[in-house]
């Protein structure tokens, strides 16, 4: 009987600490984590950024919110693949993205389409495509290098 208050205190503490079972499976995916972030937490996190960067981040958040569940699922899958790349390969992907964005608008669009096709190809098809006369005629040397870098990332080993 003397230990009853102590037992009650422990029961309360453990129910508060451990009792709330996650309502959904815990996701490690950043896309889902960003989506699940409460608005006030988002605001608090973003308000520390300089105004121009904050505006850009807010726009990206809103874009994420507007996505359909299927689009978010696909993006989450891509993010998982990206996370499995080595840090060096992740950095290569970011550089590739910056280089693609530095291209003129029409060429950027041409390479975006090419990237979409290459992603759907098998490994052998990719090698064949990059060495083909068609690729040499459609894309200049710099653009072909970017496409080769993209294929290398697709073929890169996962961690």
């Amino acid at each position: 009987m003397r230990l009853l208050p102590l037992a009650a205190l422990f029961t309360l503490a453990f129910s508060l600490s451990f009792g709330q079972a996650p309502s959904a499976p815990r996701s490690n995916n950043a896309v889902e984590r960003l989506r699940a972030m409460p608005p006030d937490e988002r605001r608090k996190a973003l308000e520390k950024l300089p105004p121009d960067r904050r505006k850009q981040a807010e726009a990206r958040m809103e874009e994420l919110d507007r996505m359909s569940p299927e689009e978010r699922g696909e993006l989450a899958r891509r993010y998982d693949s990206f996370q499995r790349l080595s840090a060096a390969d992740q950095e290569k992907a970011r550089k590739l993205f910056r280089d693609l964005n530095d291209l003129p608008g029409d060429r950027r669009e041409a390479l975006r389409l090419a990237i979409g096709h290459i992603h759907e190809m098998s490994s052998a098809e990719r090698t064949g495509f990059l060495g083909s006369a068609e690729a040499r005629s459609r894309y200049n040397r710099k653009e072909r290098t970017l496409l080769q870098d993209y294929v290398a990332l697709l073929e890169a080993p996962s961690r």
Binding site: S17, F18, A36, E41, A45, Y79, S81, G116
Partner: protein, 154 residues
């Protein structure tokens, strides 16, 4: 009238029983008064009276502790437990020997700690998101990149 005043009882075998009765508080009022009248003039008896008063005062201020009651309870409990296996007696003895008092504040502090700082991974119904602005911005940039740059196997 009979003289009740005793000669010094310390020196008189005849009156020695007076002292024993006085110490036991059994003396009738007249004999007690007579003895105390004698004590007013007898240094040896005064000394004895002082010592005896110390005893009386001590007895008057002494309060019975509940040790005797607890002892009786334990004794009765032991008698009731006659026939129980020896290991049960050992367990009872062991439990009685434990003091839980020092553990109470420690346990309370631990419980409070668990309430204020729950262990990671147990108290979150939502997955945690990047909290640092730079980290959040980087994740958002990566997400935007991956919208245009599909990575991973088909």
């Amino acid at each position: 009238m009979k003289d009740l005043r005793p000669s010094c009882p310390l020196h008189s075998e005849e009156h020695a029983s007076l002292l024993l009765d006085y110490c036991a508080r059994r003396l009738d009022p007249d004999r007690k008064a007579a003895l105390e009248a004698h004590m007013e003039h007898c240094a040896a008896c005064q000394e004895l009276r002082s010592a005896q008063r110390l005893v009386w005062d001590s007895l008057d201020s002494w309060e019975a502790s509940d040790t005797g009651w607890e002892f009786n309870q334990r004794l009765q409990e032991r008698l009731r437990q006659e026939g129980r296996p020896a290991w049960m007696d050992s367990v009872s003895t062991w439990r009685e020997g434990i003091s839980w008092k020092p553990a109470v504040p420690l346990a309370a502090a631990l419980a409070l700690w668990l309430m204020v700082f729950p262990p990671n991974g147990f108290n979150s119904s939502k997955p945690s998101a990047p909290q640092q602005p730079d980290q959040l911005e980087k994740v958002l940039e990566d997400v935007q990149m991956l919208q245009q740059l599909p990575l991973g196997r088909r």
